[in-house]
Subunit: 419 residues, 2 copies
């Protein structure tokens, strides 16, 4: 057996012990970990400085350096995040459904951990802690494979998690950091389908496509969020503007931010000048279709490719459409199954939009920014899925579990006539 296969098998073994462990022990690990993140911060920050220095020496850009950098404040936030995860209800062992058949056979469904989850991520070292905490809370072993930029930070953080596991009497291999960041080792890891149950890549589209293409293990995919706001002819335009601004400017770099505005033709002349003013004031650039451009002096012409663009920046694509059907056709063609919004006072049209548009969350008179684990009541999220297998949308602790049947009888059999 190869080194990587043995490494993955150690996670599988640990996952069995972890799944059978009492909730209190897993809880204890998280508390110890949160404490350590604050008490042993000097060690973490020193390792992180090494990573940052190496990244600067390599000439990495400011955005990457920012994602890579840990500070005392960020470590405090991370400790708080771990305590919040610890405070969530324990999903393991929850009975989600229960009934007794007419013949007295008792059926129940119990939530159980998935087993072993591999997280593949890039420069953010905080994912090491986030992912470990969510996996442990849900009774899963975790294999963590961060980017080479963060290797020193990740080693210290992962060893903190393992020390916490050890102190609580749980197997340290319940959380393992990949010993190398070689691509060939990652490829080998992605073939360990006997030992790993789920792969969650977190990062840019390139990373996710690479993992999805090479994995023999199921992969949660989240390519991008091209979220649309459709302002229907019966919209309250003040409300529409409010939801547009929240979706575009409150945090443009996140996946539930808006990328495209679709405006119903009958209100274009009235609404678009207000859009131009409000977005212009906030420094949002625009590309637009010819009909929209008539009302948007500063917009440049949209190219075909613009309708598929995830700007993650202060930019928006604007198009005038003829009614709900054209808006839905546009979304069906260019949407990314993430978040879509309709603004209207017409309940029938809103319901049709909510029912027919294919996205993990469909909003009516509410901001796209609500498609978020915390806002939806799921607690911290480990990722967002834009494919429909296993999970669709924000993934909280429940998405890291599955359900098994417990069937209890009194000698119940199916074919007494054969005995």
């Amino acid at each position: 057996m190869s080194t990587i296969a043995e490494f993955a098998r150690a996670s599988r073994e640990a996952s069995r012990l972890l799944a059978a462990s009492p909730a209190a022990k897993r809880q204890q690990v998280l508390q110890l970990l949160a404490d350590q993140l604050q008490s042993a911060r000097t060690e973490v920050l020193a390792a992180n400085e090494q990573d940052v220095a190496a990244a600067r020496a390599k000439g990495q850009g400011d955005a990457l350096i920012d994602r890579l950098t840990l500070t005392p404040a960020r470590l405090d936030q991370l400790a708080t995040a771990v305590r919040n995860i610890a405070a969530q209800a324990d999903p393991v062992g929850e009975i989600v459904e229960q009934r007794t058949r007419a013949d007295g056979l008792e059926l129940a469904r119990m939530r159980v951990p998935l087993g072993v989850i591999a997280m593949i991520f890039e420069a953010r070292p905080n994912v090491t802690i986030d992912a470990a905490a969510l996996c442990l809370k849900s009774g899963n072993a975790a294999i963590l494979r961060g980017g080479s930029e963060a290797i020193c930070s990740n080693r210290v953080l992962a060893s903190m998690v393992r020390a916490s596991l050890d102190a609580a009497g749980l197997p340290t291999d319940a959380v393992q950091l990949m010993p190398t960041t070689e691509r060939s080792d990652l490829l080998e890891l992605l073939r360990c389908d006997e030992s790993i149950d789920l792969v969650i890549p977190r990062g840019g589209e390139g990373l996710i496509r690479f993992v999805a293409e090479h994995s023999r293990i199921p992969v949660i995919r989240h390519y991008k969020g091209v979220c649309h706001l459709f302002v229907d002819q019966d919209a309250d335009l003040d409300l529409a503007l409010r939801v547009l601004l929240d979706g575009k400017v409150s945090r443009p770099a996140v996946c539930n931010a808006l990328e495209t505005l679709l405006v119903d033709a009958p209100i274009a002349a009235q609404f678009l000048p207000r859009v131009a003013e409000a977005l212009g004031k906030r420094g949002v650039g625009m590309v637009a279709c010819p009909r929209a451009r008539a009302f948007l002096a500063t917009a440049r012409d949209a190219t075909d490719a613009d309708w598929d663009r995830e700007y993650l920046d202060l930019m928006i694509s604007v198009r005038v459409v003829d009614g709900l059907d054209e808006a839905m056709a546009h979304i069906s063609r260019h949407g990314s199954l993430h978040t879509e919004v309709i603004i209207t006072r017409d309940a029938a049209r809103a319901q049709r939009f909510q029912r027919e548009v294919d996205a993990s969350a469909v909003m009516w008179n509410a901001s796209s920014r609500f498609n978020d684990g915390g806002e939806l009541g799921l607690g911290a999220e480990i990722g967002i899925s834009t494919t429909k297998i296993h999970a669709y949308g924000a993934m909280g602790l429940a998405a890291l579990t599955t359900q098994k049947w417990l069937v209890s009888g009194d000698g119940h059999i199916r074919h007494p006539e054969l005995l």
Copy 2:
């Protein structure tokens, strides 16, 4: 774009229309299909005779010929199965959860179809109808790829489904039969991850491993069912014998039949002679560990490989174990995550077994044969999953859906302070 990619894309297009279609139309398709299966049986039987003749000419075995053969009675059963699926509750559009936040924002989760499901199967032509009916009932488009042995039967059956779709005013491409049974075309189909959401292989382990290895689309895996019965020292032995016989002899060729008997040491001398007599009378052969052989005159010595064997026949492996922990360790090593059973009067041990044993269904004093969609109240099943991603165990209509969020507000935004 290749022919197969275009073929898959036609399914994707049809799936969008299907997902938005009223339940009544999908219902109508199933009723028309059931009627046709009975009224146009001559045509189906003629095509099936061609397949059977070709299989005989090739020297195929009796088991394959039996799986391949359709008869008037089997067509009637198939029509009944379609009517039963039609009679199940419609899963599409079901609101599974609903609540209002303190700020008035309304959250709901709605069940929606997965999209496009590819079924890869072998010689049984009835899967064409079963799979099409379950996919249509759950609002999914289906791509069907049967074995070459059944190609004439499958063509007639698929064209019946398509004629029923057409008569109900739904797109015929909602159900497509792969035009060829070339392996190269199957490989290409398994790469169409933009157009297909889920692949369900149904057949032998070789087929399933082939599909899992080559698919870029998520695959429901069901390798085998090596199901154990553990008879604890506090078991009611009459009850244990009853559950053993039902699990082993009522239908040995199915995946929820028993393959291994584990007997707790303190009761081996009392229980095993009764096992030998009861199984012997029903023609069940035995392989056994040395301690069990002492009580089983006709058993041969078990080899290491026997503990992983899925006999699907009148054979069983028997082992004496020292208590619950050894039984669970054996199951953890040799089980297939399918169905496991404990027989005991001791509630604490039963609960530990049910909680800790990893299998899609864990029975206490009840037969393994209850791990079945119909018995568990799920209705007809499209397959059984022995991996934990998306579905674990029997998959009914709900397993062919996912859930999207509907969020409805009154201009709700996340950051009013920024406006």
